[in-house]
């Protein structure tokens, strides 16, 4: 189809000047009844300030690009960008909110990169925030569903887990993947999250299972008898179905959180740190509703965004040492590892089964714990992925540090079912 081919060709164009990441921070992810969105973002900004090796005078910041999915529906707060800018003392700098569902802060990052490349700004604060836990679960279900088509998908009864569940049935049908492959993604990401003090679930699934056993014992309740995590995950009462075949532990949680990134023009990076991380590739693409797509077992916007980012960076998937991918659901991680070219189509589930994507495997995916274990405050997730890459590429990831001094990392951030996808590639300075 000619439209697709043209879009690909044009995506190869580059940026006016280089952009460096010189600071990054995130709030703890979880449920924080006493914190509003602005309080969460302030926490992320505090960590960011501390992360700038040569110090950050906030006066240097010229603009804010803020990713946020729906403070409107979650907090009754529109016009969130200047609210946050004001809370950080950044007014009268320009403050712009970017919304592309769960890809909001990945796209905000791209706008920050573009703004610096344009020559307008040298120093830009990018971030994301979402405060989700103030609403009851069924209302959160409603709000997340608005990421789909309110006229043609939501009336059918689709929920956000429902969309990915449908993709899972198509994937399983086409490639014969067992449900265990999904479970393996969840187990791995919780193992990573257990090493991340910022994660909402700072526990392995085995630990969660053992805690349940200990609690039942303490309360004198009859003991469940799970032989291992897989048995635990197959238990309807321990791991209830949300949207079949996806169960609770296939789904990222409802989270509060924020993340912040400091971008500067390449030539000014050394004013801030001697160890910058360069943003060498950026890609973004869009797509229609799930039912309009020719394929359900991959996300076209992700493949196109990755193509654009790889072309701009001049690297290929085999050179990427680690990636943070958008595992809003376990099936999403498997599809992502195929869309990004890490594994051939239909082989992602096998890689998950074989442990190829674990922290000590050949292609570590989601060392942070991913959206699954770290948490998924939707508008913050894209920026939080980059906080992890910042730490990993600078060798500061502590117990979850990927070995071998990784030099190239990738972030893959998806909005909705893939109506938006944005991919960035980072190189250690």
């Amino acid at each position: 189809m000619k439209s697709r081919a043209k879009a690909k060709t044009k995506a190869r164009r580059g940026l006016g000047r280089g952009v460096a990441l010189v600071g990054a921070g995130m709030s703890k992810f979880g449920s924080f009844p006493e914190k509003a969105g602005r309080d969460l973002f302030f926490e992320a900004f505090q960590e960011l300030r501390a992360s700038v090796d040569k110090g950050l005078d906030p006066e240097a910041i010229e603009a804010l690009y803020l990713g946020n999915y729906s403070s409107d529906l979650f907090e009754g707060q529109g016009h969130t960008a200047p609210i946050i800018a004001d809370w950080l003392g950044l007014t009268p700098r320009s403050a712009t909110r970017i919304e592309d569902a769960c890809a909001s802060s990945g796209v905000a990052l791209r706008q920050g990169v573009i703004a610096i490349a344009s020559g307008l700004y040298d120093v830009v604060l990018v971030g994301g925030v979402e405060k989700m836990t103030a609403l009851p679960t069924e209302r959160v279900t409603d709000v997340l569903a608005t990421g789909g088509d309110a006229l043609f998908e939501i009336p059918a009864g689709f929920t956000f887990p429902g969309f990915y569940a449908a993709m899972a049935t198509a994937y399983i049908h086409r490639y014969g993947a067992p449900l265990e492959a999904l479970m393996r993604v969840g187990i791995k990401n919780h193992e990573h999250g257990a090493l991340n003090e910022k994660a909402q679930f700072n526990l392995t699934i085995r630990q969660i299972m053992e805690n349940k056993l200990a609690k039942a014992k303490a309360q004198g309740r009859p003991l469940p008898s799970w032989a291992d995590e897989l048995e635990f995950l197959r238990d309807d009462s321990a791991n209830p179905v949300i949207a079949w075949p996806l169960r609770l532990f296939d789904c990222s949680p409802i989270s509060d959180g924020a993340a912040a990134l400091l971008l500067v023009a390449e030539e000014r990076a050394k004013e801030f740190t001697d160890e910058p991380v360069y943003i060498i590739g950026s890609g973004q693409a869009s797509d229609g509703a799930l039912h309009s797509r020719s394929e359900l077992t991959s996300i076209r916007a992700a493949k196109l965004a990755a193509q654009e980012a790889y072309a701009m960076a001049g690297v290929g998937p085999q050179e990427i040492k680690l990636a943070e991918v958008h595992d809003c659901f376990t099936i999403a991680e498997i599809i992502a590892t195929e869309d990004l070219g890490f594994f051939p189509p239909g082989e992602g589930w096998k890689a998950a089964m074989e442990g190829l994507t674990s922290l000590r495997g050949p292609k570590p995916i989601n060392p942070s714990g991913g959206l699954k274990a770290k948490g998924h405050p939707v508008g913050a997730s894209g920026a939080a992925q980059v906080v992890e890459l910042w730490k990993q590429l600078r060798g500061q990831a502590g117990p979850r540090q990927v070995r071998g001094e990784p030099d190239l990392g990738l972030a893959h951030n998806v909005g909705g079912t893939g109506q938006t996808c944005v991919v960035h590639i980072f190189r250690r300075g």
Partner: protein, 140 residues
């Protein structure tokens, strides 16, 4: 208003649904068919479209059984104890659409087979002012 005079709006699609008609749009320039109906052909960018009634016959492309329901479906009586099926259906004319799938057992989803033939159903949900016909499918 005559069928063919209706603008290619989402509202018109639902008005047709009220009349138990599943209507797509066809591009007069390249002949491609769209469901949901579009006012502009994404392939040839023509704005010359015409309404086209669909047979309502298709096959199940993908599905789920929803146990944690949104408020609208909770209000319609669904939920953990009464899950429902929703899926993607490819019409025999080519386009695919999202719809509730009736007549399958959402408590035994592992028995549901992708590819089974389906036919359109017009499902009434909601009360009073909110009463509306929704698109659904059921085994053919």
């Amino acid at each position: 208003m005559a069928t063919t005079d209706r603008g290619f709006t989402t509202a018109a699609f639902y008005k047709f649904l009220d009349e138990h008609k599943l209507m797509g749009s066809r591009c007069r320039s390249c002949g491609r068919l769209y469901l949901p109906p579009r006012p502009l052909c994404p392939e040839c960018h023509s704005e010359e479209m015409e309404w086209a009634e669909m047979s309502g016959r298709g096959r199940l492309l993908a599905f789920t059984a929803v146990y944690v329901a949104p408020t609208a479906m909770l209000a319609a009586g669904y939920g953990r104890e009464n899950p429902y099926c929703v899926g993607l259906v490819r019409l025999e004319e080519g386009p695919a659409i999202s719809a509730q799938i009736l007549g399958l057992d959402p408590k035994r989803p592992e028995e549901i087979e992708i590819g089974i033939p389906l036919r359109v159903a017009f499902l009434e949900r909601g009360e009073g002012e909110a009463r509306r016909i929704y698109l659904a499918f059921q085994p053919a």
